[in-house]
C-alpha cells in the first residue's frame, strides 16, 4: 500500500518528476569519447581534458525526504544531483559526447550505483543512443546499451536504497529523536581516550559525526539497523573483540567486524540460509555511527563495546523489524559479483519496503 493517492496540497508527482531529472544548461559540442567508470577517479581533473572519469565525481545521491510525513512510506527510484563543484561545467562538457562505460577499470569499486549514474548521464545527454559498456559479472560481458538499459540493470537495488534511506530519514529519525538520541555533535563517545589513537580511527569517527550532525544519512543506511540488531544479539566474546579492535587497530579501513551472527568478518551473512555472503567494507563505520549518536559505548570496565540504554531501547522498540536476511534473500546467487537484485524480484522488494516502513511508522507513531 502507498499514500500516493492521497490528495494533498503538496504536489507529489511533480516532486518525484523533479527528483528523476538533472538540469541541463549548455549544449556545447564535445566530440571526444568519455569513459565513465565506477568510483570517483579524476575527481579533481578538468573534465574537459579527462578521458575517463568516475561517475561519483559527477553525480551525487539525492535524498527524497522532503515530502510531508503523511506521504511516507513511499517508493522512489534513486535520484541524483550534480556534485556542487562541477555543476554547470560538467553539464556543458558532457553534451554531445560519445560515452563508454567500463566496470573493469578498478575491480574494487562498487558498480551498482555507477550503473545508475552512468545510465542517467548517457540517457540525459544522448537518449536512445547505444554505447559500448563492459559490465562486471561472473563472465565479463561486452555489449552496447542505451542509458536507460544500463540503469535498468541496477534499478531494483537503486530503488531499494533510495526508498529505504528516504523513509528512514523521515520515519526512523523521528522515532530516534523521540527515543532520546544524543546530540551527535557532542564529543562524548570516548571520554577516557580508549579509542585507537590511529588517524584512521579519528577519520572514521569524524565522518560519522559529520554525517550524523548534517543529515543522519549513515543512520538511514540499511546496514546501520543490521549493526544495531547485531549488537543486540551479540555475544560477550564478540563485544570484547569489537572493543579490542576499536581500541588497538591501526587501520580502520581494514577492520573486519563480527557481530550478532549475521555480520561475520565484515560480510553480511544473515542467518546463513541465503548464499553467497556479501562482502562489505564499512560495517565499522556504522559501529562508529552508533557510538556517535549514543546508541553504543566503550565500556572500559567490561572491555566491551555494548549498546547503551538508548541503543537497547531502539533495538527493543523496533525488534519486529529485525530481518537478518534483508537484501541477501533477493540477490541472485548466480551473480556473485556485484551483488545485484534481478528485475523480476522488484515486486517482492517493493512489498518488503512498504511493509517494513508501515510497521516502523506504526511503532513510531505510538511513541
Amino acid at each position: 500500500m502507498t499514500d500516493l493517492a492521497v490528495e494533498q496540497e503538496f504536489d507529489l508527482k511533480a516532486y518525484l518528476k523533479d527528483l528523476s531529472t538533472i538540469p541541463l544548461i549548455d549544449n556545447t559540442y564535445r566530440p571526444a569519447t568519455l569513459t565513465l567508470v565506477p568510483g570517483s577517479i579524476n575527481k579533481k581533473e578538468a573534465i574537459e581534458t579527462a578521458k575517463s572519469i568516475g561517475t561519483d565525481a559527477i553525480l551525487f545521491e539525492r535524498q527524497a525526504d522532503k515530502a510531508p510525513y503523511e506521504f511516507y512510506p513511499m517508493l522512489v527510484d534513486q535520484p541524483y544531483e550534480w556534485r556542487f563543484s562541477r555543476f554547470g561545467r560538467t553539464a556543458a562538457t558532457l553534451s554531445n559526447r560519445t560515452f563508454v562505460y567500463d566496470e573493469l577499470v578498478d575491480p574494487k569499486e562498487a558498480c551498482i550505483s555507477s550503473r545508475l549514474q552512468a545510465g542517467l548521464i548517457m540517457h540525459t545527454f544522448q537518449p536512445g543512443v547505444k554505447f559500448p559498456v563492459r559490465l562486471r559479472s561472473p563472465e565479463v560481458v561486452y555489449q552496447t546499451m542505451t542509458g536507460e538499459e544500463l540503469a535498468a540493470t541496477a534499478a531494483v537495488v537503486g530503488r531499494f536504497h533510495a526508498s529505504y534511506v528516504a523513509n528512514f530519514l523521515v520515519i526512523g529519525m523521528k522515532a530516534f529523536f523521540t527515543l532520546g538520541m544524543v546530540d551527535p555533535g557532542s564529543d562524548n563517545i570516548d571520554p577516557l581516550g580508549k579509542l585507537s589513537p590511529s588517524a584512521s580511527a579519528a577519520v572514521t569517527v569524524a565522518h560519522s559525526r559529520t554525517w550524523a550532525t548534517k543529515c543522519h544519512l549513515w543512520t538511514a543506511y540499511y546496514d546501520f539497523m543490521s549493526v544495531l540488531f547485531g549488537m543486540k544479539r551479540s555475544t560477550m566474546n564478540q563485544r570484547r573483540m569489537l572493543y579490542d579492535q576499536f581500541t588497538t587497530t591501526e587501520s580502520f579501513e581494514d577492520l573486519k567486524i563480527t557481530i550478532g551472527g549475521s555480520i561475520v568478518s565484515g560480510y553480511l551473512a544473515g542467518t546463513g540460509r541465503y548464499t553467497p555472503a556479501v562482502k562489505r567494507t564499512n560495517f565499522h563505520s556504522f559501529v562508529a555511527e552508533l557510538l556517535v549518536i549514543g546508541g553504543a559505548c566503550l565500556d572500559t570496565d567490561l572491555q566491551e563495546i555494548r549498546l547503551t540504554d538508548f541503543g537497547n531501547k531502539v533495538a527493543e522498540t523496533f525488534a519486529a523489524l529485525d530481518d537478518q536476511d534483508m537484501m541477501l534473500k533477493w540477490y541472485d546467487p548466480s551473480v556473485c559479483m556485484p551483488p545485484n537484485i534481478p528485475a523480476d524480484r522488484a515486486t517482492y522488494v517493493d512489498e518488503w519496503l512498504l511493509e517494513y516502513f508501515t510497521t516502523m511508522k506504526a511503532i513510531a507513531d505510538k511513541l
Binding site: T235, M236, N237, Q238, R240, M241, D244, T248, T249, E250, K256, T258, G261, S262, V264, S265, G266, Y267, A269, G270, T271, G272, R273, T275, P276, A277, K279, P333
Partner: protein
C-alpha cells in the same frame, strides 16, 4: 596440579621407553646432521660468521641463492621443528626433548659451517614479527648455535617488548630488504658488494649489539617449545591415525573429497592440501588445530558461508579472515570473560586446508559453504570427551601466547592426561565404531 606430581607422571610415562633405549632415541632426535668433510673444505669467503634474522626472506630467498652468496640466513628457512615420532604406539603419551631439523634441502652443511666457524649475529631490529614469533626465532638461533658450537655466545640486537603498551596487531609481513640491518653491518665492516643507498633508512637509531648465551636467549620460550613439541609428538602418534581411520583419508585421496579447482590453482592453497596427502601433518599436529576443529564444530552456517567466500577470494593464506564458533575472530583467539585475546599469529587458514585434505570438512560448491563430512562429525563425537577446551584454557596465559617457565610441569601433566583420554577414546572407537555413527538427519538439521 603440583609440579612434583607432574614430574612423577612424566617419569612414569618416559620410563616406558627404557627397554628401547630412550636416551639413544632422544639423542638421535635432537641432533642436526653432521657436516661432511667435503663441506668443511668449502671456502666461506663472503662472511666469516652468520647473520641471522627472524622470519622468511622477502627476496632473494636462500632457496634461490647459492649458499656461498647468502650472507643473511632467515631462520624460518633454515630450521623447522622436528616432532618426535620414535617408539611404538604403546609408549605414548610421552614428553620428548625439543628438536629442530634443517629445512633447507641443499647446502645446509655450508650454513652449518658458517655458524660453527664464525661469530653469529642475530638481529630483530627491524622485524614486524610479533612477540611469540620472535621468541620462537630466538630459540631457533639458540638451538642452531648450541648444536654446532656448544657453549658459544651469540651477538644479538633484540626487540624490547616492554617499551610498547600496544604490541602491533599486524600479522607477520615480509621484511623489506631495503632496511636490512645485516646489509648495513656488512657494508660498515668493509665487505665489498653493491647496494642501493636508498635502501637504508638512516633516520633510525641503530641499537647496540650485545653478547648473550644460548640458554639465556632460549629461556623465555622454553615452556612453549617443550609443551608444543610434546603435544605434536603425541598427536602425531595418537590423533593422526585416529583422523585417518575415521575420515578414511586414504580412500578419499583416490577420488571424492578434494579441493575445488579454484583452490588447487593457487599454489599456496594447494601446497597444504597436498602435503597432508603426502603424509606431512605439520599444521594438524600444532596445538591450535583443536581450537580450529572445535570452533568449526561450534560454528554457524553464516560463518561457514563466509569461510567459503574467503577461501575462494583470497590470494594469500594470510589474507583469509577466519571467524568461527565464537572463539576465533579474524584469526584472533578469544575464550571467555577473563581469557586474554590472543593476537593473530598469521595462520589459521592452514588448519582449515589440512582439515579439508584430511577429509574432516569439505567444500560444498553448490551450497557455497564449507561443512563437516560424515567422518568429521564422527571424529567430533569421538574427540569430544578428550577435554580440548580444558587443555586450551590452561594454555591461555596472556595476549602474547607465551607460557611462563614455571608452568611447564603442570602443563606437561595436562598434555599427558589429555592424550591418555584421547587414547582411551580411540580405543573405544576402534572397538565399536558403529556406536559413534552420526544420525544423518540430526546432523543435517
Amino acid at each position: 596440579m603440583n609440579s612434583d606430581l607432574g614430574a612423577d607422571m612424566c617419569q612414569l610415562h618416559n620410563a616406558a621407553f627404557d627397554h628401547i633405549e630412550l636416551n639413544a632415541l632422544f639423542e638421535k632426535h635432537v641432533a642436526l646432521p653432521k657436516i661432511s668433510p667435503e663441506d668443511q673444505r668449502t671456502k666461506v669467503y663472503l662472511n666469516p660468521g652468520a647473520s641471522v634474522v627472524p622470519g622468511n626472506p622477502f627476496a632473494p630467498s636462500i632457496h634461490g641463492d647459492s649458499p656461498e652468496y647468502s650472507w643473511i640466513l632467515y631462520l624460518d628457512d633454515l630450521l623447522t621443528p622436528s616432532f618426535f615420532t620414535g617408539g611404538d604406539y604403546e609408549n605414548y603419551p610421552l614428553i620428548p626433548p625439543i628438536s629442530y631439523k634443517w629445512k633447507v634441502k641443499k647446502g645446509f652443511s655450508l650454513f652449518a659451517s658458517k655458524v660453527r666457524d664464525g661469530d653469529v649475529y642475530y638481529d630483530e631490529s627491524y622485524t614486524d614479527l610479533n612477540e611469540l614469533q620472535l621468541m620462537n626465532s630466538r630459540e631457533k638461533v639458540a638451538f642452531l648455535v648450541e648444536s654446532l658450537s656448544p657453549g658459544a655466545r651469540v651477538n644479538v640486537r633484540l626487540k624490547d617488548f616492554t617499551v610498547s603498551e600496544r604490541p602491533s596487531r599486524t600479522p607477520a609481513t615480509p621484511r623489506k630488504p631495503t632496511s636490512d640491518p645485516c646489509l648495513r653491518k656488512q657494508n660498515v665492516d668493509g665487505y665489498d658488494f653493491d647496494f642501493d643507498p636508498d635502501w637504508v633508512d638512516t633516520t633510525l637509531e641503530e641499537p647496540e649489539w650485545v653478547s648473550v648465551s644460548t640458554a639465556g636467549l632460549a629461556a623465555p620460550i622454553k615452556a612453549n617449545s617443550t609443551l608444543f613439541q610434546a603435544y605434536a609428538a603425541n598427536f602425531l602418534a595418537i590423533g593422526i591415525p585416529l583422523i585417518k581411520r575415521i575420515c578414511k583419508t586414504p580412500k578419499a585421496a583416490a577420488g571424492g573429497i578434494g579441493l575445488p579447482l579454484q583452490y588447487t590453482m593457487r599454489p599456496k592453497f594447494g601446497r597444504h592440501y597436498h602435503s597432508w596427502r603426502r603424509g606431512d601433518y605439520l599444521w594438524s599436529a600444532h596445538f591450535p588445530w583443536p581450537r580450529h576443529f572445535l570452533a568449526f564444530a561450534n560454528s554457524s552456517l553464516a560463518e561457514r558461508n563466509v569461510l567459503y567466500r574467503e577461501l575462494l577470494a583470497a590470494d594469500e593464506l594470510k589474507d583469509v579472515s577466519i571467524t568461527l564458533g565464537d572463539a576465533i575472530f579474524c584469526g584472533s583467539f578469544i575464550g571467555g570473560r577473563n581469557a586474554p585475546i590472543l593476537r593473530p599469529q598469521g595462520y589459521s587458514c592452514e588448519f582449515i586446508l589440512e582439515m579439508i585434505a584430511a577429509g574432516i570438512i569439505e567444500v560444498a560448491e553448490k551450497e557455497m559453504t564449507i561443512r563437516f563430512t560424515e567422518g568429521g562429525r564422527i571424529l567430533h563425537n569421538v574427540l569430544s570427551s578428550c577435554g580440548f577446551e580444558d587443555l586450551q584454557s590452561q594454555f591461555s596465559h596472556d595476549t602474547t601466547g607465551l607460557i611462563p617457565f614455571e608452568k611447564t610441569k603442570e602443563l606437561e601433566v595436562a598434555i599427558l592426561s589429555h592424550f591418555i583420554a584421547m587414547k582411551s577414546a580411540a580405543k573405544a572407537y576402534y572397538a565399536d565404531p558403529e556406536s559413534y555413527a552420526v544420525d544423518k538427519e540430526k546432523a543435517s538439521a
